[in-house]
Symmetry: C2
Subunit: 411 residues, 2 copies
């Protein structure tokens, strides 16, 4: 099942009932990379070789794990993930360390080196403590299990400044067979979409062959979800979203082209659910801000308007302050570079009409302010002309705590 | 003279010795628009009709004063400026009020309505208290003077959340005659360049005819200065930069085409000096961050890299925290959309080499941190390949105070 709407809470995984596909096992251990002693090394291992799909950061400065995976995506048996150290900007030694991580897991599994993917997230520019990493992989491999608890530990092993674990799953039936899509993602800073955002692992037992067509459909799912969020607009060096399909579902594991459409709908729903959790848990965030922009413009243009509003520190601080500051929202739309007619522009915040056809409406400021303050979700709906198309974007508010976290950042 | 480097101080105008061109007079009064009782209404009046040049915000949502001036630029006798209320998003009544402001000053001067320009800055979406504005114009007109004190009062009348008054001037001689360029500008929030940024008035006695060529040169000066700054990347509804040239300098007031080049150099220097004062006094700022990017790329591409670094909240909070976080700077460059070779990338902060040819340098973190903390200016120099061209950008750090000002904003 898809989880219900996000809530900003310490840990919302307690009551989860995830749908765990067969044929994958998981583990997460504390290997000592994080000085805190928290879980920092995770494994996802498939019983058999899977189709593997990936979307990677477009930053020119890329972590070596991103380059490793880009060159190997297509099939995979396992993923080794560490947090606490991004292994980015670490030169040749960093590349060597990425390969060593993959080799250690390949040795444990007994599979080809090229069938292991690597993900690293955390501080940039420091060398990985490889002794910890290697013994962590061995320890985690001994704890692999196909259940929700093990998956939860693996998801915890991706976390950096995240306050809660980000997992989601769904089940759907086609042709009398039930399939699962399961995913885990991490935030919480350096979140600015540029084709891929942050680490995310998606798993399914749906029989999906590696193909250009499926790659395109996968990228579309990412465009509708992880590419529609930001916390600070800063695209990370380490972003990757990876999907493994092990085809264990169904009677014969054969491809089911007629139901691919339903699969990608379900995948997109899981991606959106995970994606929204990231700004919900954005560094220092007290609000998830959902921005919907509609108008006669193209969807990509409406998305740019929504993103421009999402990236405005003035809009983000206004939401933090419970200030129904329609002027900041409307003027942010105005500098997005997309043409629209101010006199056909209207705005609602949490359902309250604040601005109609280019003119501020007489509204009860206190009532709207209370609505912002009393809810962790703020809904901004902007209409810039006749609403033929629409686009969504999600972001966090900008708070004292965001400044504190990032002015005083240490491992 | 051009003032020396910016310093962030309560008020650095005390010791100014500005060069005031003949033929212009100034006043600033408290008309009651601002509840604080501070000066909020200013006049700049020329003895005779001037050539007038303007650059205006490209925001789709524009204050009525911007539209008024766009349609009238070319010549001018006077400018009426108010702060505390931007008269933006105020519909037909707002347009009517802008015209009334111009009419009142035109009546006082005894000039054509079309020769009066209007600037308004402050809160968006509220109606101007026109009784205060009108009586303020009459009062200010009675106090017009051609001296530094009067100019300083006029500059104060533009201020909103500014902590100090932003003025600059220079003198230069061509053909045995000395000319002046004098300017005033305001910050301090909603600063994101899009062809023009914030209110600025520039005055000169240099004989400069209104022409397409001079317009282009004027825009180039703005591109080198006000378009190279940001505080929060949020382009205002009210941005305008206006230059009046009254041709009172020189023996006969005729145009001096051979010395135009020198004039525009001087104008650019005054614009840069004023522009840098804006992020120096950015809302909540404790540091002016100067970013220079050099490489073989085109200047416009290098400028985009510099702007991307300037807009990163992670870079801005790191500077606030005194953190020499080269990873955030280099990775921000990486997502600017401009191609470069990571292995040819080097970075200095306050002169310290932190990153060289794609690899972090072993540096004394405490020494660099102290250098950031002990200086109000932070110099970031990034080289992304062989330094054939370069571009500059200036911004503020992101602080608790920025969040406080904007989460608790009231008139």
């Amino acid at each position: 099942m898809l989880e219900s709407e996000n809530e900003i809470s310490e840990n919302d995984t307690d009551e989860l009932m995830l749908s765990i596909p067969e044929g994958f096992s998981f583990a997460g251990v504390a290997s000592g990379i994080k000085k805190s002693g928290n879980i920092d090394l995770s494994l996802v291992v498939a019983d058999d070789k899977c189709s593997a799909f990936g979307v990677f950061t477009q930053n020119m400065i890329r972590a070596s794990s991103v380059d490793w995976n880009r060159n190997r995506i297509g099939s995979a048996r396992g993923i080794v993930i560490n947090s606490g150290n991004a292994n980015a900007c670490t030169g040749e030694q960093g590349e060597h360390d990425t390969e060593s991580m993959a080799r250690e897991l390949a040795d444990q599994i007994g599979c080809e080196l090229n069938d292991v993917l690597v993900m690293s997230t955390g501080i940039i520019g420091e060398m990985l403590p490889m002794e910890n990493v290697t013994s962590g992989i061995v320890a985690a491999f001994g704890q692999l299990q196909n259940n929700e608890n093990a998956f939860d530990l693996a998801a915890q092993g991706m976390m950096t400044t995240d306050k809660f674990c980000k997992v989601s799953s769904t089940e759907f039936a086609v042709g009398g067979t039930t399939y699962s899509v399961l995913g885990m993602a991490k935030g919480a800073g350096m979140i600015g979409p540029k084709m891929a955002t942050m680490l995310c692992v998606l798993l399914t037992d749906f029989p999906l062959a590696a193909s250009d067509e499926h790659n395109t459909a996968f990228k579309h799912a990412i465009d509708q979800s992880f590419n529609c969020i930001s916390v600070d607009g800063h695209t990370s060096t380490s972003d990757q979203v990876v999907l493994l399909a092990n085809s264990t579902g169904g009677s014969d594991g054969k491809s089911l082209p007629e139901s691919n459409h339903e699969f990608f709908n379900q995948l997109t729903a899981v991606c959106i659910d995970l994606a929204k959790k990231i700004p919900s848990d954005g560094e220092g965030a007290t609000h998830l801000i959902s921005i919907q922009v509609s108008g006669p413009q193209r969807e990509s243009e409406l998305a740019l308007v929504a993103k421009t509003i999402a990236d405005s520190p003035l809009v983000k601080t206004a939401v933090f302050g419970g200030d129904p500051n329609w002027g900041r929202i409307v003027s942010a739309a105005g500098y997005s570079g997309i043409a629209f007619e101010p006199n056909e522009t209207s705005l609602r915040v949490n359902g309250f009409l604040l601005f109609e056809k280019g003119t501020p409406v007489d509204f009860d400021e206190k009532e709207v302010s209370t609505s912002i303050k009393d809810n962790t979700d703020t809904e901004i709906e902007l209409q810039i002309g006749v609403p033929k198309n629409s686009a969504q974007f999600w972001t966090s508010d900008l708070t004292y705590e965001y400044v504190k976290i990032n002015a005083e950042y240490h491992t």
